[in-house]
């Protein structure tokens, strides 16, 4: 108990802060912060098992998040039948061609010895394959994008419940990570960082511009929900009764029946959105807890010990007969898969998929700040980092506004400096993140909750 005192203290302070937001701002805001904190926590857990357990830098978090989001679209949206009949065969044919190319390249790689001629053959296969695919797919893509472009213009998905996409998103992200890992994991740490950063940009470029698959920058809106809709809730009997019971004290004070009904309606509307958010919180909490248990188990298992050994001294671990390359690949895939889950959760919660919104600052660097601030190598630390940093990211604007008002109190309201500063309040969050990261790196390099390894 005593050992974990700092963990408990840190988490209680964090929850206290969120509750304070609930009391002073509104429960709606507090719950949306809480939900995004949970999603961020999943992302940081993914980044943490790569960086904290194995010392791999993955700056491609944005790409994996977007793939998770893509999974949410492809699973939950109803299939667009006209689009399938218009261009489906071409797309399927191209898919087979891609598989064919990969198999052909593999065959050449296995069959022939390393030589210049082999490289040329591979290049020829790939280039001619790409040309054939373009010829095959282009009419199909055009036909698909012409089907009702204002509303669909893409193939749609499978029409399954969106919850499945959380698992599929993990597989998507894991699959991409496998490919990237095969290509890039041999690189030195900072090369790997740059390579993953650039590869994630390629992923985003594809998602943004392949309209037949993702609708691109036209966005996919109105995704299915795992939680009830507010409008339906507001008409349900049991929910109205529940709200009435909760607010009976306040309602009793109002004597006029019409007024009381109006107040009740107001409470029902507010309550419904809080209720929906609570549903999401419950779902996300389940995911976070499951992942936390799994990652903790892994950390203290022989496998976790091996990972730390590899992280701390690769050569020694290699000399002891551990397959460093294989383990690195495994952990890269696992961590990215977790990030993929988070990506799918994020799209599920928002109910829309906006490829244009994926930016490295928000989805890669911010997640890294969370991991570093929270404490790399410690799962509780990583989750706490997700909470603290996301909380600050949201609350930075009000805090900044307060600070600006405080420091410029002597100036008139129309003074140009004050007006300018108040206009730029949104950017104080960058300042806060940067200074926070620099201070933590300097004075507490292991994070708020440092890694603690006990031999059990």
């Amino acid at each position: 108990m005593r050992k974990n005192l700092n963990v408990i203290a840190a988490y209680s302070i964090m929850m206290g802060l969120i509750i304070l937001v609930g009391i002073f701002q509104s429960w709606n805001i507090a719950l949306s912060i809480f939900n995004l904190c949970l999603i961020s926590a999943v992302m940081t857990m993914g980044a943490n098992i790569q960086w904290g357990y194995a010392g791999l830098i993955n700056f491609g978090i944005m790409g994996f998040t977007a793939l998770g989001g893509l999974a949410a679209v492809l699973i939950s949206v109803n299939p667009v039948k006209e689009a399938w009949s218009a261009g489906g065969t071409n797309i399927l044919l191209s898919l087979f061609l891609i598989i064919g190319i990969i198999l052909a390249v593999r065959f050449v790689l296995k069959r022939y010895q390393k030589s210049k001629i082999r490289n040329y053959i591979i290049a020829a296969i790939i280039i001619s394959g790409i040309i054939i695919i373009r010829l095959v797919s282009e009419p199909g893509i055009e036909a698909i994008e012409e089907v009702n472009p204002a509303r669909t213009g893409f193939l749609g998905g499978l029409g399954l419940p969106i919850i499945f996409s959380w698992i599929v998103g993990a597989f998507f992200a894991g699959g991409l990570a496998f490919v990237i890992g095969k290509v890039a994991l041999g690189l030195r740490a900072d090369y790997l960082a740059i390579a993953t950063l650039l590869i994630s940009e390629i992923v985003i470029a594809i998602i943004k511009h392949e309209d037949w698959l993702t609708r691109g920058v036209k966005n996919v809106i109105g995704l299915k929900r795992p939680a009830p809709y507010e409008v339906n809730l507001q008409e349900t009997e049991w929910f109205i009764n529940l709200v009435e019971k909760f607010n009976s004290g306040k309602l009793a004070l109002i004597s006029d029946i019409a007024e009381r009904q109006a107040a009740l309606n107001q409470f029902v509307i507010e309550g419904s959105s809080v209720f929906v958010k609570l549903c999401y919180s419950g779902l996300f909490l389940v995911v976070v807890i499951i992942l936390l248990i799994l990652t903790q188990k892994a950390l203290y298992s022989p496998w976790g010990r091996m990972m730390r050994a590899i992280r701390d001294n690769e050569e020694a671990a290699n000399a002891m007969g551990k397959n460093v390359v294989k383990q690195h690949l495994l952990i890269f895939v696992l961590g990215s898969a977790i990030v993929g889950i988070a990506g799918a959760m994020l799209v599920t919660q928002d109910g829309l998929f906006t490829p244009g919104s994926y930016r490295p600052l928000r989805y890669t660097f911010l997640i890294w700040v969370m991991v570093i601030v929270g404490g790399s190598g410690n799962n509780f630390g990583a989750i706490l980092g997700g909470f603290v940093v996301w909380f600050l990211w949201i609350e930075a604007a009000p805090i900044g506004l307060y600070l600006v008002n405080l420091t410029t109190a002597g100036l008139e309201d129309t003074h140009f400096l004050k007006v300018h500063l108040i206009e730029s309040v949104p950017y104080f969050r960058f300042l806060m993140m940067g200074i926070g990261l620099l201070l933590i790196m300097r004075y507490r390099p292991k994070g708020i909750l440092p890694e603690k390894i006990e031999i059990k």
Partner: protein, 336 residues
């Protein structure tokens, strides 16, 4: 005649823009590579440092414009560059003193320094946005075109026009001057040689009496010059927007690595490799083939290898291919 038209077409749409864009990337890539070679970390604040320098230059430009100072047909921003470099150098030295120095003295692993540079990136980005705001700004003044497309057509009697923007010429001329001075400095002067020695083998350099403090300071000063000039040239040619500058970090990194990180000459060429392949692969060649081929063989489609949306993706794919086949870059990196 058709053949000449085809060549002018390529010059106008591919060669000149790629040369200008490549020069801007090359300056940024040398900046990255110098920091990597001498201070030994990947600087993720590259784009934002460039935007900081450009911001200072823009502020000075506005100030000069309000005073009525100008360079005639040249943009006023050129006059502002030296002042901006001073500010930029000061800023970099401050950052170095309060942030990077600690880790350098502790001999932290490069990864940690890269993380720290992300902190610097956030702070710089905030400072730039708080001071000048996130919106798109043009600060170009003076003569816009050196040769206009119409004038060129009249002059030569060809169908295709060749438009050369003055910013493109300025970019190329400044790049030539800057880069040749830099290579002269690195290869011929004593300080430059000691910088290369430091980059090659730190311990040996220290043993031979090279002062690391001086090396680091000079590196930051050169970095300030490169960042400011590179940023201003890009801003003059296109426009200044903090977010674009942040994104420019990516092709710049690609250029530095493709050329062989730690090798300034490689970085210089890497910039052009990236720029030319981006533009060559995304240009629609239909018109070119219409000139070159006989009428019966005229193409139907656009003859575009990749849609322009994938401009960025091209450079990153090149990077991935280079990393796969020659991890040390086209020119062997890490020798400076």
């Amino acid at each position: 005649m058709d053949f000449l038209n085809a060549i002018i077409l390529l010059l106008n749409y591919i060669f000149v823009p790629a040369l200008a864009y490549g020069s801007q990337l090359a300056i940024g890539a040398i900046f990255v590579t110098l920091i990597y070679g001498i201070l030994r970390f990947a600087n993720f604040a590259t784009g934002d440092m460039m935007s900081f320098g450009t911001m200072v230059a823009i502020l000075f430009t506005w100030y000069f414009q309000s005073l009525g100072l100008s360079l005639g047909f040249l943009p006023t921003a050129l006059l502002a560059i030296p002042f901006a470099i001073l500010f930029m150098g000061l800023y970099m030295l401050i950052i170095d003193k309060f942030v990077f120095k600690y880790y350098r003295l502790n001999k932290s692993p490069p990864v940690q320094l890269a993380m720290v540079s992300i902190g610097v990136m956030f702070v710089t980005q905030a400072v730039v946005r708080i001071i000048i705001g996130p919106s798109d700004r043009r600060f170009f003044d003076g003569e816009k075109f050196l040769i206009k497309a119409n004038e060129f057509k009249e002059m030569t009697g060809l169908n295709e026009g060749l438009a050369i923007k003055s910013t493109q010429v300025i970019t190329i001329v400044v790049t030539i001057i800057l880069v040749s001075t830099l290579f002269w400095f690195l290869n011929k002067t004593k300080t430059g040689k000691s910088m290369r020695a430091y980059s090659d083998n730190e311990d040996l350099a220290l043993l031979s009496g090279i002062d690391p403090k001086k090396i680091v300071m000079i590196t930051w000063m050169i970095a300030a010059i490169l960042a400011t000039i590179g940023g201003v040239l890009y801003g003059l040619d296109k426009s200044f927007k903090p977010f674009t500058y942040f994104n420019n970090m990516l092709p710049i990194f690609a250029a530095a690595i493709v050329g062989g990180i730690g090798n300034p000459f490689g970085a210089f060429l890497g910039g052009y490799v990236i720029a030319f392949s981006e533009i060559l692969l995304t240009y629609a060649y239909k018109k070119f083939f219409m000139y070159v081929l006989p009428e019966s063989m005229e193409p139907d489609g656009l003859i575009q290898l990749l849609s322009t949306d994938y401009k960025f993706a091209v450079s990153f794919s090149i990077l991935v291919i280079v990393l796969l086949y020659r991890p040390s870059g086209i020119f062997k990196g890490k020798i400076l």
